[in-house]
């Protein structure tokens, strides 16, 4: 690996843009199934976020690439090559852990140089390379500090530098920001993205924070119970969630009680008949026919007009900046969230009677859930 150092100016990995492929990955811990047949392909040079609630298997998937977990069945391919049986220390995957992963008895620069020391790089060469990486993460003047003398954000930058030191084929980030303060999280988020794009390194990013995933990733893979629900670019995930689970997990959804159409391809809500995106859930006819499904709509897609004869009523308003989120009680008692531009709320005071309208496009439909209309994702 000495060729790494022939050009110290270049921090670009020599093998930019590897592919990673999960094929039918299964892993069970005792009675809990962490991965239940995961199939997923990561494209060269992209940042793919693995998003899902805790326990959905996203961390297990990441650790399978790093070699800390062996799948029961299935395989992991990097650049088309099966690495399932390769031991962790020969994986050429750089990993950043959630927290506290720096070796406490080494200075920042020694931490970064650790991998180079392991592969036998000479002392001068590895110090030069480590210094260059510290420069890259903006901590060149903290080289001699010990981890306990660094803030959480600085520690994670050092960990990032250490993960990049060996020019790995894949960068693995296991919730690297979740232990940090909100402000630091935002800056580091941008910085990781900038570095990743600059280096063009294929990156897997595990997070349970949907906002983080949407803002950073090229594509987001939403996982649930060890399986892939949907993998799509952020905008597509938000605009056209493939399943009700994705819709609820990513962003906020308002649930509007609706009446399934007789043919199973339409629903009726607010006096209109809308085509169904996907299929109607469950055996509609058996549990009583009408009123058993919800239509899922983004709050900003719901139109609100003041209407003295309206059957709905505004019961609450939350100022969000440019928009204001209104809570509207429907005639049937269900509550729905709708976002309206703040400048138009003058005519929509709390207590006002209103009429709600839906956009004219196919809608997602889920089994009816009793309770309040919307829920926030994450």
């Amino acid at each position: 690996m000495t060729d790494l150092l022939t050009d110290p100016e270049s921090v670009r990995p020599t093998r930019a843009g590897s592919t990673v492929e999960f094929r039918g990955l299964r892993r069970a811990f005792g009675t809990t199934t962490a991965l239940d047949g995961l199939d997923l392909e990561v494209r060269p040079g992209e940042l793919l976020a693995l998003l899902g609630p805790s326990g959905c298997g996203k961390t297990t998937a990441l650790r399978t690439v790093a070699g800390f977990e062996r799948p029961d069945t299935g395989e992991v391919l990097v650049d088309g090559e099966d690495i399932t049986r390769v031991p962790a220390h020969r994986r050429e995957a750089g990993m950043v852990f959630q927290s506290y992963s720096l070796f406490p008895h080494m200075t920042a620069i020694d931490n970064v140089a650790f991998g180079l020391r392991m592969n036998g790089t000479g002392k001068a060469a590895r110090r030069a390379r480590a210094a260059e990486l510290l420069e890259l993460v903006g901590l060149a003047n903290h080289a001699a500090r010990f981890p306990r003398q660094l803030s959480g954000g600085q520690q994670q930058r050092i960990a990032l530098a250490r993960a990049l030191a060996l020019r790995p084929r894949v960068l693995l980030l296991d919730e690297p920001l979740s232990a940090l303060d909100a402000q630091v999280r935002l800056t580091l988020r941008e910085e990781i993205r900038r570095l990743q794009q600059q280096l063009g390194i294929t990156t897997l990013f595990v997070t349970h924070d949907q906002e983080e995933a949407l803002s950073m990733a090229d594509r987001v893979a939403v996982m649930r119970a060890g399986r892939l629900e949907q993998c799509a670019p952020p905008a597509e995930l938000y605009e056209r969630p493939a399943t009700a689970f994705v819709a609820n997990f990513v962003g906020v959804m308002s649930r509007i009680p609706a009446r399934p159409g007789a043919d199973g391809t339409t629903v009726g809500a607010f006096g209109r008949t809308l085509p169904v995106h996907g299929t109607l859930p469950g055996p509609v006819g058996t549990d009583g026919g009408s009123g058993e499904v919800d239509v899922l709509v983004r709050p900003e897609a719901i139109g609100v007009t003041a209407d003295g004869d309206g059957t709905s009523q505004i019961v609450g308003a939350t100022f969000l900046g440019a928009t204001t989120r209104l809570t509207v009680r429907l005639a049937g008692g269900a509550e729905v969230m709708a976002d309206v531009a703040t400048h138009s709320t003058a005519g929509l005071p709390v207590g006002a009677k209103v009429t709600l309208t839906l956009p004219d496009r196919p809608v997602l439909v889920d089994r009816h859930s009793w309770g309040n209309g919307g829920r926030s994702g994450g």
Binding site: A66, G67, F68, P87, A88, H89, R90, R91, A93, G94, M95, F97, Q98, S99, Y100, S101, L102, F103, P104, H105, F114, G115, R117, M118, N119, R148, A159, R162, A163, A165, L166
Partner: protein, 270 residues
Amino acid sequence: MPLLLFAALAFGLPAGTMVFGALTTPETVPGGARFTGANMSASLHGPYLTALLGSVKLSALSALIAAVIGLPVAHAVVTSRFRALRESVLAGAGVLANFGGVPLAFAFVATLGNAGVLTTRFHLLGHGWNLYGFWGLTLVYLYFLIPLMVLTLAPALEGLRRQWREAAHNNGASTFRYWMHVALPILMPSLLGGYVLLFGTAFSAYATAAAMVGSSVPLVTMQIADALSGNVLVGQDNVALALGVDMVLVAGLVMAVQVPLQRRSTRWLA
């Protein structure tokens, strides 16, 4: 604070008397108590010196063996998936390390003494086995030193984060190199601190050797007790006190090494 008062009285009085006695002649001799270095120098000559060196040698060696064995044992116990095993071993270690040497000495006498179960069954005496010699005593000492080491190391081993091992592997280190470059350096203060504690414990142990009547190993603790009870020579009280001062000096030296090490380790593992 009553604690400080208590310590000053219950501790300071004997300690002061000890130092004073060690540096003076007995009052019974003509001329009364005078300052003298004779006791101290006597305590560092002849059989007393042999005993002091014997104690140091036995303590140093048994503590070393206990530390070397204690590390893998503590690791195996701490990382065990069976909580019942972990808890019972740690509780057992607490008992063995604190209960003192008498029952342990008897257990070994019954097992490997001249009439012990294993000695008679395997005719060990014919093979030159002697529980009452240096190695026999070392074997008995290990019986409470290893548990003490396990107790000392357990918190440090629990403080070793999984991320460190994984980060090391992730950076291309094999398991062996992980231990050499990461785990052992991090544990080193605890290991050294534990060693020092073990040395001190072995050094000040008296009950074990005393209960194994007939031990032929000269130990400084035995010498002190003998001198105090007038078993050897009458009028050696002040030499006994001088020996006590010697022991305090050795133990003090040992603690002076241990305390900073402990500090460093807690800082790393916090």
